[in-house]
C-alpha cells in the first residue's frame, strides 16, 4: 500500500484515525454485548454456541447466496424450516450506512471537510453492496471466489472506464477502510485458539508456516530477484498463512502497493479453488491417512472456507467426520497467527527493509518506531484484549463470541469490501502489467506452495500420524 495520506495539521494521522474508530467499534460491540448478558447460564457454550445475543447484529448483514435471481439475496431462509423466510434488506441497508458513516467519521477526525465526503461515501457503500451481491451467487460462493475479488473487479471496471468522478474522489479512502477493518478484525484473532488442537496442531501450524513464509520471501527476493520485496512478502503470507485475510494484514504491515495486493489475492483465490477440488480425491487415491490428510488440507489450502469444504468432501468420501474437524481447526490456528505475523512483518519492514533503503540516521529502535504502521498497534491491542476476555472466564468467552460473530466480523467484511472497491478504482490496468511480466509472481507462488505442501504433509504425518497417534485413534 502507498504511504498514508498526509492530513492537515489539526487532523489525526490515517493510522491513528483507524485505531480510534476501529477501537471504538470493538468497544461498542463489547459494551452492547455486556448489556445483553443472558440471565440463564451465561457462561455455557452449549446454551450460547455463538455467544451472547448482541443487539448490534440486527443492524448489519450481507447478501444471502442466490442462484437465478439476485432478489433472493435479500431474503434469508430459515435453515431448519425452509418455508420460513425473512427480509434482510434493512440490515443490508444499515450495513452500508455503517460503512458510509465510518468514512465520514474518518474524514472528520483526520481534518477533512465532511460535507464533500458524504455523497462519495454513500456511493461507495452501494458499490460495496453490489460487490457483495456478485460474490453471493451460488457458483461463485461455493467455489470460494471471495468478495474482495469482486470488489476489486467492480472498482477496476469503473476506474478504467468512466474514471473516478470528482464528487466521489474525497471519499476514496480504501486504505483507511482496510486499516480500520484490520483493527476491528483484531477482536476475532484470539490467541487462545492457538491451543485448540494441542501440540500436534501447534507443530503442524507453527513450525511449517513461518518456515514456508520466510523461505518463500527469501527465495523471491534473493534468488528470483523480484524487484518488489513487498510483493514477495504478500505472496508468501497469503500462501503460507491463510489467504486473503493474511494478504490484507501483511500487505498493510509492509505497505504493499494496491496492485501487488490485488495480484496476490487473485493468485491465492485461483489456487484455492484448484486445491479445494483436487486435494480430497488425491488424498483418498493416494491412501493417505484421513486425519493426516485433514491436517494437510488445513495447513495448505489458503482460505478457511475452502479448507472446511475440502475437509467435508474428504470426510464424505471416507465416511469419517474427523478429517473435516482437524482441517478446520488447523486452519483456525493459522487464522490466529495473523496478528503475530503482521506485527513481526511491520517490525521487520520498519526496522530493516525501509531503514536499509534510506540509510541509517538514528538508532534502530527510533527508526523502526518512526516508520512503524501505528494501526497495527490497534489490531494487536484488540486481539490481546479480546483474547484476555476470552480466557479469563466462560462468560468473557461468550461475550467476545457474541460481539465478534454478531457484529464485528460482519462489519469487518463490509469495510474490507468497500476498501477493495476503492483500491480497484485507483488501479489502472496497465499498472498491473509489470507485475505479471515473465510470470515471476506465479512461479514464486507455485514454488512456495510446493514447499508448503511437502513440509505440511511431512509434519502432519509426523504429528497426527505417528508422534501423537493416540489422540487420533478412537
Amino acid at each position: 500500500m502507498t504511504p498514508p495520506v498526509r492530513t492537515p495539521a489539526r487532523g489525526l494521522h490515517e493510522d491513528w484515525a483507524a485505531v480510534l474508530i476501529g477501537g471504538a467499534l470493538v468497544a461498542l460491540a463489547l459494551f452492547v454485548g455486556a448489556r445483553g448478558r443472558p440471565a440463564d447460564d451465561p457462561g455455557s457454550a452449549k446454551a450460547w454456541p455463538k455467544g451472547w445475543p448482541n443487539a448490534l447484529s440486527a443492524t448489519i448483514d450481507k447478501p444471502q447466496t442466490w442462484s437465478d435471481s439476485p432478489t433472493r439475496a435479500f431474503v434469508a431462509v430459515d435453515k431448519k424450516d425452509p418455508a420460513k423466510e425473512k427480509s434482510v434488506a434493512l440490515p443490508i441497508g444499515l450495513a452500508m450506512a455503517w460503512v458510509a458513516g465510518i468514512l465520514v467519521a474518518g474524514a472528520a477526525v483526520r481534518g477533512q471537510a465532511v460535507r464533500g465526503v458524504v455523497p462519495g461515501a454513500a456511493a461507495l457503500a452501494l458499490l460495496g453492496g453490489l460487490a457483495y451481491l456478485l460474490s453471493a451467487q451460488k457458483v461463485i460462493n461455493h467455489y470460494n471466489l471471495e468478495y474482495p475479488l469482486w470488489a476489486l473487479v467492480v472498482g477496476l471496471v469503473i476506474g478504467n472506464t468512466v474514471g473516478v468522478p470528482a464528487w466521489l474522489a474525497p471519499a476514496l479512502q480504501g486504505e483507511f477502510l482496510v486499516k480500520t477493518g484490520l483493527v476491528v478484525f483484531g477482536a476475532e484473532v484470539l490467541f487462545s485458539r492457538l491451543l485448540e488442537l494441542g501440540l500436534p496442531g501447534l507443530l503442524t501450524s507453527w513450525v511449517v508456516t513461518p518456515i514456508v513464509l520466510v523461505a518463500t520471501y527469501w527465495f523471491g527476493v534473493h534468488v528470483m530477484r523480484i524487484p518488489s520485496r513487498s510483493l514477495c512478502m504478500v505472496i508468501s503470507a497469503d500462501m503460507s498463512v491463510c489467504g486473503v485475510s493474511a494478504a490484507i494484514a501483511t500487505g498493510a504491515a509492509c505497505k504493499a502497493k494496491k496492485e501487488e495486493l490485488s495480484l496476490a489475492i487473485g493468485l491465492s483465490l485461483a489456487f484455492t479453488v484448484l486445491m479445494m477440488v483436487l486435494m480430497p480425491p488425491f488424498i483418498t487415491r493416494a491412501g493417505i491417512d484421513p486425519i493426516v490428510g485433514g491436517a494437510w488440507l488445513g495447513g495448505t489450502i489458503d482460505a478457511t472456507g475452502a479448507v472446511v469444504a475440502a475437509g467435508e468432501m474428504l470426510g464424505k468420501e471416507l465416511g469419517d467426520k474427523r478429517p473435516a474437524e482437524v482441517a478446520a481447526t488447523v486452519k483456525m490456528i493459522q487464522n490466529s497467527m495473523i496478528g503475530i505475523i503482521a506485527f513481526a512483518v511491520a517490525v521487520y519492514w520498519a526496522g530493516w527493509v525501509e531503514r536499509g533503503a534510506t540509510g541509517p540516521r538514528r538508532s534502530l529502535a527510533a527508526e523502526a518506531w518512526a516508520r512503524f504502521p501505528r494501526f497495527i498497534l490497534g489490531f494487536v491491542a484488540a486481539s490481546v484484549i479480546c483474547s484476555a476476555l476470552f480466557v479469563v472466564a466462560p462468560e468473557g468467552a461468550r461475550l467476545v463470541e457474541g460481539a465478534t460473530l454478531g457484529f464485528t466480523s460482519r462489519l469487518r467484511g463490509w469495510l474490507f469490501c468497500v476498501g477493495f472497491v476503492c483500491m480497484g478504482m485507483q488501479t489502472v490496468f496497465r499498472e498491473l502489467a509489470p507485475y505479471l511480466a515473465a510470470g515471476r509472481p506465479l512461479v514464486l507462488y507455485c514454488l512456495g506452495q510446493a514447499l508448503n505442501l511437502a513440509l505440511s504433509l511431512a509434519m502432519a504425518t509426523l504429528t497426527f500420524g505417528w508422534l501423537f497417534r493416540k489422540v487420533v485413534d478412537p
Binding site: 468512466v162 482460505a303 467484511g413
Partner: protein, 80 residues
C-alpha cells in the same frame, strides 16, 4: 493517493455499459446455467447439506465454529 482517470465522457460511458452488460450476462445467464450442471449442482448441494460456507475468509465466518472435537478432548492433551 492520486488518481488520473483513464477515460471520461462518452467513450468511457460506453465501455462501462459494455462491461456492465457482460457482467450481467455472466451473472444472470452463465452462472445460473452452470449452477444447474450435475457436477456443480452436486457440489453446491453437498456444501449446503453440510452447512459449509466455502467463501468464509476466516473461521468466524463459518456456520459452525471449529471446536475441539470430542475425540481430541478425550485424550487432551495440550501436551501429550
Amino acid at each position: 493517493m492520486s488518481h488520473d482517470p483513464t477515460s471520461a465522457g462518452a467513450s468511457g460511458g460506453l465501455r462501462l455499459a459494455v462491461a456492465a452488460g457482460v457482467m450481467a450476462v455472466v451473472w444472470l445467464v452463465v452462472l445460473p446455467w452452470l449452477a444447474g450442471r450435475p457436477a456443480v449442482a452436486r457440489h453446491i448441494r453437498a456444501m449446503e447439506e453440510g452447512e459449509v460456507h466455502p467463501a468464509a475468509m476466516v473461521y468466524t465466518e463459518l456456520e459452525h465454529l471449529p471446536t475441539r472435537a470430542a475425540w481430541v478432548e478425550r485424550h487432551l492433551v495440550l501436551w501429550p
